[in-house]
Symmetry: C2
Subunit: 246 residues, 2 copies
C-alpha cells in the first residue's frame, strides 16, 4: 500500500523530539535504523515523531561516526480520539502480529487482558511489544505511538478506562448487532473488548455490559480473538480516514 | 470471540459432502481432526460443509477404528457475492497469517500476485495455504472455502477477474478516497488489489485503473501490504454482517 509514498523520507521515533536542540545526534536505536536499515546518506531528509503528536522534518548532516541531524521544522498534531483495545490471549503465538497490526491501524492503547479462561503466556513480552509498536510508528509514519499496557485482569483494565473520554464501547460477539456505518461519535473515544481463545465468562460479560460494552458482530462467521481485534481496529481506521461526520 | 458459541459442535470440511451416502467414514485429515484435535466421542454431533455451500449436521456413530458418521440433515446455502483479494508479496514471512485472516474474514478467493517489484518467494506454498484455508473454514464454521490461486502476474490475475460479477474494485492507496459506508452494491462482487512491500509500478497502477480499480484509503497512515489486505477484508466482512441494504 505504498505507491508514491515510497519515495517519502524514512521516519524515526524520537521521544525527546519536542525539547531537542536544533542539532543533535540520533539515539542508539534510531541511529542504527537510519545507518543500517534505511542506509540514509548525508543530505537526505528524515521525518520524525515523538509518538505524542510532535512531528518534525530533519536534515541528516552526517552519518559517521554517529548520525547527526538538524531540525528543519517542527509542529504539533492535534490529539486524535483514543482507540483502546482490551484483548484476551489468543491461541498460539499470535500476540506479536496482533500488536504490530493494531499499532499500524492507529490503535492508541493495547491492553492484554488476563481473563478467567485465558492467561497471556510469559510476562516478558511487554518490552518486545513496545519495540514492535515503535517499528509500526516508523512504518506508518505516525505522529502517535501505540502504548502497550502490562497484562491486567479485566476488572483493572475496565477501571483504567474511566480516564478516557466517553464513547463507543464494543464487545466482539458473533451474536451481537452489526456495527453502524460510523464507529465514533465526534470527539468520542473508542474501546473494544475481545475475549481470548476460550472467550469471556458470563461474569466477565456482565462486567463489560456494566461498563457500557455492547455486543457487536464484526463478521457473519466466528473470528479468532486476534482476528476480531484487528477487524475492529480496521473499521475504526477506515472511519478515521473518512474524517469527522458532516 | 466465542462466548456461547464455544459449546457449538466441531466443524469439519468434506468436499464430497453433497453426494455422500447416509453413513460414511470420515476421510483421513478430518478423521485425525475429529479424533485427535477435537477428541469427539460417539454420540456427539458434528457440523460439516463442503466449502461450496453444502452444510450438514452429522452424528458421530463411532470413533475407532475410524470415525463413522451419519447424516442427520443436509442443506444448501445461497452463494454469497464473490470477494477477491489480489495481493503482492509482503516483506518477510507474512503470507501464512495473511491467508489465515483473509479466509476467516470470508474472502472467497486469494490471488498472490507477482508484481514488477515484488515476487512471492518459494513456489511451494499454495498447498500449505490451502490447508490454512481449510483450518479457517473449520474455525469459522463456514459453508464456503476460500480458494487459493497459484501465484500469477498481475495481467493474468486481472484477466481472470472478468469471470466475476461486476462490482466494487478497490486499490489500496493511502492517497485515495476513504471507503463509503457500504462496500458492495446489492449482489455485486468485491475485488481488492494491494501492492507488495515495494508497491505497484506506474504501469501496474494504470492497468488496475483500466480494470476499474479505484484508489481507496483504508486508514490515515500508510499500511503494510498484508495489513491493507486484511483491513479490506474486515470492512467487507462488517458490511456482509449488516446484510443487504434497505
Amino acid at each position: 500500500m505504498r505507491s508514491a509514498a515510497d519515495a517519502a523520507p524514512a521516519h524515526v521515533h524520537l521521544p525527546e523530539l519536542a525539547g531537542a536542540p536544533e542539532r543533535f545526534a540520533l539515539p542508539a536505536a534510531e541511529a542504527r535504523y537510519v545507518a543500517r536499515v534505511v542506509r540514509a546518506r548525508p543530505g537526505e531528509t528524515l521525518r520524525a515523531s515523538d509518538g505524542a503528536g510532535c512531528v518534525a522534518v530533519l536534515a541528516l548532516e552526517a552519518v559517521r561516526p554517529a548520525p547527526l541531524v538538524r531540525v528543519v521544522s517542527r509542529s504539533l498534531e492535534a490529539s486524535p480520539a483514543p482507540r483502546v483495545i482490551l484483548c484476551g490471549s489468543p491461541e498460539g503465538e499470535r500476540g506479536d502480529w496482533l500488536v504490530e497490526k493494531l499499532a499500524e491501524l492507529g490503535v492508541s492503547r493495547f491492553v492484554p487482558v488476563d481473563t478467567e479462561r485465558d492467561v497471556w503466556p510469559g510476562r516478558d513480552r511487554t518490552v518486545r511489544w513496545r519495540r514492535l509498536a515503535v517499528a509500526a510508528l516508523r512504518q506508518s509514519r505516525s505522529a502517535w505511538l501505540m502504548t502497550v499496557a502490562a497484562p491486567a485482569v479485566l476488572e483493572d483494565a475496565l477501571a483504567d478506562l474511566a480516564a478516557l473520554a466517553p464513547g463507543e464501547r464494543w464487545l466482539a460477539d458473533p451474536a451481537g448487532a452489526p456495527p453502524g456505518p460510523r464507529t465514533a461519535r465526534p470527539g468520542g473515544g473508542l474501546a473494544g473488548a475481545v475475549g481470548g481463545a476460550a472467550g469471556f465468562s458470563d461474569g466477565e460479560r456482565a462486567a463489560l455490559a456494566a461498563h457500557g460494552f455492547a455486543p457487536v458482530a464484526l463478521a457473519r462467521a466466528r473470528l479468532r480473538a486476534e482476528t476480531a481485534a484487528v477487524a475492529m481496529a480496521a473499521l475504526w481506521a477506515a472511519d478515521a480516514a473518512r474524517g469527522p461526520e458532516a
